[in-house]
Amino acid sequence: MTEPKEPAGHRRPWLRIAGLTVGAVAFLFPFYYMIVGSLQKKADTSLGGALPSPGNLSLDNYREINAAISLGQSLLNSAIFTAGVLAGTLVFGVLAGYALAQLKYRGRGTLFAAMLLLQVIPFQLLVIPLYVQIVRGYGLSDSYLGMILPFAINSVAVFVFRQFFLQLPIELFEAARIDGASELRILRSIALPLVRPALLTATLLTFIGPWNEFLWPFLVTKQAGKQPLAVSLANYISTVASAATNPYGSILAGACVLAGPAILLFIAFQRHFVSSELGSGVKG
């Protein structure tokens, strides 16, 4: 991140830090409580229950949720769904981002305008026609392909790629073209290595989309064996949970498993997920 432009809070820095701390507690406490609750043998909603008590700890909730929705299979389904979207975005999204930024051809303006326009269309509106097309028309229900198709290329990622490719000096490409390099070769050996930060940022942005998505895979998958974790956990919350010995505990155990990978990945790569890099990552 670049240096802060506003002068540091030298007059009353503690007020600022106190405010931020209150905010951070409000943002982090539910996650802490998620972990504590998932380990409670018996749900304890009292104030004391917010602290882990040694006598009430167990992994029973994880066993219970695993027996109900088979965590391994659900995680695998989530992983395949996410990997499919990532592959589509990193291959076709990069190609489109490069073309939109550095090549002059007919229809470029139209495609760019369409890309911007579709940011304001609520995706959920398209759910009914997509359902008619993909599930009823092509018969792709309970298939990974049916899940992946509407998300195959993340438009925000295409936009990020374009912004990064735009910042590369055009002379670099002109020189390579005069030397007779093909566009694909220029992209592979010159442009891509220079936009590595963009690839990471876009991968992270793209990852949380399908990993967290609920409505579409919920509509496409009816068989439990094909459902990603977000869907199987939601079905557990809305139907099965009441039959469990500690319904909140097992819900929270499932929530920890669903939230864990996204949060860990984000913390590991958080320095790539900052505002300045979205705008000017190739400068540094």
Partner: protein, 306 residues
């Protein structure tokens, strides 16, 4: 280099005129263009088409008559009290969520934009709800806000009865606050980016003029990030219009008595559960018209202000 390479032949000039200087761009962006048409443009048109016809689901390959019915689906939708309630609910949602989002994300972004200790820690904490699945955090909110949950234990006698998520008056505001909390990190990120573009000199001259911190926030920061505010408002409205997971799970299908149902939840219930995609599409088209109207009104307001 030979002369033929520098002076383009007639054929080269023709393709340049027709396809542009680097026609390979067409090839590279073709997959994305096909995707945009197949997943956005075509379904968008198809949604409008479905909303003007009597439309039922069929097995693949089966064709049934789907007669044109004009505005029938729209009149049915507008006469449906549940649909009207859902649009009212989303209006309540936006009135709470949008101002809260704009104010909190700008304040927190400003606080984060200074040299303070633990800056990375604070930034990461604010982004974490945004990167987490709604389904996962809904689980812990159900636990926190249940009748005998931690929040009510803390509030004691001040807790609403019936509890938050099953209370007709509190269900929708609870969802609005949940979504504000969940999405705030993303909007803080947008504001942090915008704050980098506010010239430092403006703060310095405000300080020289003896302006208080609050004063310089109001007369330098707020106008400086106005384009970002427009974007944040628009994106918050679109997020609100897409509301589905929270009423489906947090308030158990838009309860109590439809007081937290959203238009998208009704699209799911009417369209997929009850098998009326035509009615559901009409709801969707009305929803998009609503979003576009709000966005247009917002642009008009902006232009008048500047």
């Amino acid at each position: 280099m030979t002369t033929t390479a520098t002076t383009p032949t007639r054929r080269q000039r023709l393709t340049t005129g027709l396809l542009g200087r680097q026609p390979i761009g067409l090839l590279l962006s073709a997959p994305y263009a096909v995707f945009v048409v197949a997943v956005f443009a075509y379904p968008l048109g198809y949604a409008v088409y479905i909303s003007f016809h009597k439309f039922i689901f069929t097995a693949p390959g089966v064709s049934v008559p789907r007669p044109f019915v004009g505005l029938d689906n729209y009149t049915a939708v507008l006469a449906d009290p549940a649909v009207r309630q859902a649009f009212l609910n989303i209006a309540i949602f936006l009135v709470i969520n949008v101002p809260l989002t704009v104010v909190l994300s700008l304040l927190l972004a400003t606080a984060l934009n200074a040299a303070i200790p633990f800056r990375t820690f604070f930034r990461v904490s604010y982004y974490i709800p945004y990167v987490t699945a709604s389904v996962a955090v809904v689980g812990v909110w159900l636990f926190l806000f249940s009748s005998d949950g931690l929040v009510n234990q803390v509030l004691g006698g001040a807790a609403p009865d019936p509890s938050w998520l099953i209370n007709e008056n509190w269900a929708m505001p609870s969802i609005a606050i949940f979504v504000t909390w969940k999405q705030l990190g993303f909007f803080i990120l947008l504001y942090l980016a915008a704050l980098q573009n506010v010239p430092k000199e403006l703060y310095e001259s405000a300080a020289v003029d003896g302006a208080s911190r609050w004063r310089s926030f109001r007369s330098v920061t707020v106008p400086g990030v106005r384009p970002a505010t427009t974007l944040v408002t628009l994106l918050a409205i679109i997020t609100g219009a897409n509301l589905f997971t929270e009423p489906y799970l947090l308030t158990n299908g838009g309860g109590p008595s439809g007081k937290s149902a959203s238009p998208v939840l009704l699209m799911y219930q009417r369209g997929i559960e009850q098998g009326h995609p035509d009615v559901a599409s009409a709801i969707g088209v009305l929803l998009v018209i609503g979003v576009l109207l709000i966005a247009a009104a917002q642009r008009l307001l902006e232009r008048r202000q500047s």
